[in-house]
């Protein structure tokens, strides 16, 4: 056992420290400097957009104060900052209640918004209900109007429709408040409120009466009882489902003349909206058992009516997609079955061997593109196929083997020739890559990797690429597909908006830079580039 002198102990300690320092060798890389102008430093930035304030471009954005919980909505602060960075960012409203409360822009030289503030819980019919104060505020922070105890609100015409606990706390009554601040209660509203040039319509009361309010101060005029659904067609015409001998029937109602006509069909299931001919109301009738659904066309001006049975494969009819440059249409039923309705063929309507919710015709109508889902979680996804619209040749898979895409993750660029299929597909749960594919040849080109929020033309891709699937940030780039060049506008970008300054011939991109850890570089950045 050695004698432990202080000097010896110190020398041993030095030696050990020396070893430790050797192990600790090497420094971490320096941070990468960022080019551009920082408009705002901070994190949790959301809902960014451009607005004009007194003719000058600003960026409107929000920062998160708190997350929503089971008992309270999240809160946001609202900010603006001049795009040219001539003034620091200004918070014009603090503690906006998000979630169901929305944010209603009212425009104006100094833009105004309806926002919610001061969320609290009240008791209505012995149930807890969260209400707020609806505030009309401008971007200078001036509170212009305040409506207390509001349970949800929406903008209708120039006013607000909202619910408020009644004085006795028994019900949440519907209110309409016009721009002048005048309010009226809409009795026992059961559905939406429709505004038309002739006033305001709503369905209310236990007998589902359709009311008409010609102006705010006038009494509500009952038009028709038993209305379970309605659609306004203009010119004071509406389609409604009403009871007749205990069974629902569809009627065409002239609200001005207060007349109505019953539409042909016994079990009308599906309203398909008007067709290319705006006077034709299209709908479908489902039948019992194995009977095919029936398609109807009704000219509500002339009363002319046509009907024809659909292929047996269709249980009903929920959507019609016309084939360009053809009289044919693609018919969808609610179970995902498809059929072609082609007047030039016999039989006119026939089912096709597809069961996909996403088919889309090419602009020239020659091809049908669709995603055939192979997985449903979290959303339907599958490979992309192309099929000639006459079904003369077998289908061909367009997306690379092993990749899948969401149902709507493709479109076409067909002018000028040659036409291209643009789609974004991914392996497994990875990020999507952007591809261009040929319509007729099995040629697929990967144009950008791990994209997020990109805009695509034949010549260029602008947006976020090389996205990290953990941080959901990537490089904001402008890719020139003709020259094969790429300009990196920003890195670690969460979201962006772009505009152009035509006077200065500049493309201006404002983006949110976000990092994994709170840092000074986080915030809003402006990049100005010559337009591509």
């Amino acid at each position: 056992m050695p004698s432990l002198s202080l000097r010896k102990a110190v020398s041993k300690l030095k030696l050990a420290l020396f070893i430790g320092v050797i192990g600790a060798g090497g420094c971490l890389p320096d941070p990468v400097p960022i080019e551009g102008k920082q408009l705002f430093a901070g994190r949790d930035i959301e809902n960014m957009s451009f607005i004009k304030v007194a003719g000058k471009t600003h960026v409107l954005f929000e920062t998160r104060l708190s997350l929503p919980t089971a008992v309270a909505s999240g809160l946001m602060d609202m900010w603006t900052v001049p795009l040219d960075g001539s003034a620091p960012a200004k918070r014009f409203f603090a503690g906006r209640v998000e979630g169901d409360w929305g944010l209603i822009g009212l425009g104006g030289d100094v833009p105004q918004y309806w926002v919610a503030r001061n969320e609290r819980t009240v008791s209505v019919a012995q149930r807890s209900v969260r209400v707020t104060d609806a505030i009309r505020v401008d971007v200078n922070g001036n509170v212009l109007e305040q409506v207390r105890d509001v349970f949800q609100f929406s903008r209708q015409a120039d006013g607000l429709v909202f619910r408020r606990p009644s004085a006795n706390g028994a019900v949440l009554a519907y209110h309409y408040r016009n721009k002048a601040g005048l309010e009226r209660v809409l009795d026992d509203l059961t559905g939406g409120v429709t505004f038309s040039g002739a006033g305001l319509y709503y369905v209310g009361g236990p007998d589902l009466t359709l009311y008409w309010v010609p102006n705010l101060m006038a009494p509500a005029e009952p038009l028709r009882a038993g209305v379970t659904r309605s659609r306004f067609l203009g010119d004071n015409l509406a389609i409604m489902t009403v009871p007749e001998n205990g069974k629902p029937v569809d009627v065409l109602v002239d609200l001005g003349r207060k007349t109505e006509r019953k539409l042909p069909g016994a079990r009308i299931c599906c309203w398909l909206d008007v067709g290319a001919n705006r006077d034709i109301w299209r709908y479908a009738e489902s039948r019992n058992g194995m009977m095919p659904a029936v398609y109807h066309e009704y000219n509500y001006r002339t009363g002319e009516h046509q009907e024809r049975p659909l292929p047996a494969a269709l249980t009903d009819l929920i959507r019609i997609v016309p084939r360009p440059n053809s009289d044919a249409s693609l018919l969808f039923d609610s179970a995902g079955n498809l059929a072609i309705d082609d007047p030039a063929r016999e039989p006119r309507a026939f089912s096709i061997p597809l069961r996909a919710p996403s088919p889309r015709f090419s602009d020239d109508g020659k091809f049908l593109l669709y995603v055939r889902p192979t997985s449903q979680v979290p959303s339907p996804e599958g490979p992309l196929f192309i099929q000639d619209s006459d079904f003369a040749a077998p289908e061909r898979q367009v997306s690379p083997l092993g990749t899948t895409l969401l149902l709507s993750s493709f479109f076409t660029l067909e002018e000028p020739a040659p036409p291209l299929v643009v789609f974004w597909a991914r392996f497994g749960k990875g990020a999507s890559d952007l591809y261009f594919a040929d319509f007729t040849q099995p040629m697929v080109t990967r144009v950008a990797e791990s994209i997020r929020d990109v805009s695509v033309t034949r010549e260029r891709v602008v947006g976020i690429v090389r996205t990290s699937l953990q941080d959901l940030v990537g490089d904001l780039v402008i890719k020139d597909l003709v020259l094969g060049t790429e300009t990196i506008v920003g890195r670690s970008v969460d979201s962006y908006i772009l505009t152009d300054d035509s006077k200065r011939n500049l493309l201006q991109m404002v983006y949110v830079l976000r990092t994994r850890k709170t840092a000074d570089v986080e915030g809003l950045w402006l990049a100005e580039l010559p337009p591509p």
Binding site: I19, G23, G26, P29, E98, G402, G428, K429, L469, L472
Partner: protein, 754 residues
Amino acid sequence: MKIAFAVVLAVAFGVFGTAGFAQETADAGTGDAGALDGGDDAAVTPSLAPPVAPPVEEALVTIRARILGKGGKEPLVGAAVAFGMQVIAEADESGRVELALPPGTHRLQIQQPGYEPLDVIVEARRGRSMSDETLIRLAPRLVGQRYETVVVPPDPRASRLSLRQEELTRTPGTLGDPLRVIEVLPGVSQVVWPAAIYTVRGANPGNTGFFLDGVRLPSLYHFALGPSVIHPFFIEQVDFYPGGYPARYGRYVSGIVNAKTTQPKVDRAHGSVDVRLLDAGGIVAAPLNGGQGSVAIAGRVSYTGLLLSLLSPDFTFNYWDYQTRFEHKLGPGRFTLFVFGSGDHLGRKDKTKQDLFADISTHRLMLRWVGALAKGRAEVSTVVGRDSSSTFIPELNNLPVAVKSLVSTTRVGYEQPLAATLDVEAGGDVEVQAFDPQAVATPLPQQNLLTKRTSLLSGAYAALIYRPAEWLSIAPGLRYDLLAQEGVTRYEPGPRLNIRARVGQNTWLKAAAGRFVQLPSLPVSVPGFENFGLKSIGAQRSLQGSLGVETTLPWALTLDMTGFYQRLRVSDLASIFTYEVQTNLLELREGRSYGAEFLLRRDVSKQFYGWVSYTLSKSERVYPPLNTVAPSDWDQRHILNLVASYRIGRGYQLGGRVHYNTGRPYPIFNESSLASSRNAGPPIIYGKLPNFYQFDVRFDRRWVFDRYTLDFYLEIINTTLSEQVFDMKRRSDGSIDRVGFRIALPSLGLHAEW
């Protein structure tokens, strides 16, 4: 002369519970309670009476006995026969002892470390037959100093934690698995309890290497609950190097876990059977060639599939493993043939549904010779093996992939003392592994793991242990690794330095530093999905430094405190949310980790033993593209484990573990954000998984019969039903949804050994 022994075991003074075992022993061992018939003319009678002085007789009577341990047939070599304070004989290699006593009644005591002393009254009469032999069985100590204290000497080449004996198989919270004990040691964090996925000192889970007798294995654990793939019977000691491991190991940038196998007992045939709630297994071992060798065969099958069926009507899950070990003296050393393998299966019961499955199997054949050579010790081993993985787990990979690999590893090592103050060690290893990935459904993209490839990994090392003074040892080492794959060759030096200096009576200062290298690795080691990416990703590296102190304290306590710093370049998952093997799922990132480890431990030989371990650490990575320094995905700031076991007596033992760890960083967003190419859903926020704590209890009961022992244990892990949250998402309304489970894992087992 006829000698008769009548033995009833005495209650050892101050030792609880011996009487019970003694009674059972007598019942089970002889079928004749209170008497062991050893001959006609001598009788041994148990007594608590004071010793009787041996009468002086003119002629002595020879008495022969064989002394064995209870619970088996183990001869107690060296067992002492004491007369008063004096040892008058010791048992030979077969446990036999011969006494020459004067006629009359004598009180003797049989003593053996680790066993209860046994008092016997011997009545020596003339005329006893020379062939008569009396069997005496000593009961193992079940409390207190049950075991002799095994001193595992500190390794001057590296700081390590060694675990033996009951610490390996009876640590609460580990399901009795020797290789899961590391999860309660300092420096170790468990990614998601109860999966056997560990990170060490802030590196990544795949950065810690698992070795068996110095040979790397792709994985030491089965799926899910993760029992180790080697029968606990084979494992004698587990050495855990949390960092700065010796030069003989290589190609991992964090820690090393080395399980040392043991030679089965060679005195006679032994066996054991385990029946547990989740699986059943057994082992038989027998001596060969007069004790010069041995053979042992073990196997285990799980029936978790049956249990899972009760919980899930769709899925089936099973695992199995086997081991066969042959060992024999060969020249100046011992030769070992060890064949082992394991398999895991996860799938749907409906065989026609192939939308999720995983079939993984590993087989290894190891030849090893260890022995004296010249003036040193040499070791040569060769391992050949075959791995096969066939997986399709849509959450992990969107493509059914099967990978087969063949591996061959050869190691040589030699160590020799050159002088009284200097030891030298040198050696090397070569590992060749060929991978053949196959796509089940479609052509494979040639991407890292899916590339058909052969990797050649080789290393040579030399190390010294220099002891210039009794209080100081300096152990420099140098390892040089060759990594070759897909036309890329790298030479990576790995210098090491370990220093130990005694600065007090029982206090040592220890310091370590080194450079380490590794091929890219996945967080979870799956056979077949390894040794990839040298070309496309590059090699992982670490520079490690540590400084610590260890000391002994009163009450048989030892205290070990270590500070560490690691500079890392490691292959992180690009995103912890996607494991799609068809993409570049790994990213080489710079990083560092630093912290302090604390271990207060009471010796396992004590009636009350256990430890407190605490780790304070920070693990950071440099994230592209701005080189942002932020906590790594595996960063757990505080980890605390309290492990305690108490031998109550009468074969009872009770233990418990309290575990606490803080949550690791976790990005929280809506799942639709991943699927969509737009900014769908509420934005991402950076949060942390909730802290986690658990309380485990374990109860053991051992019965020792004459020829076998029976152990029963009941273990309940997470008795508090704490929720293990492993995922957090933002709902579409922006609020946070926690995804986790609350389960308690009961484990019930019977172990019979003879």
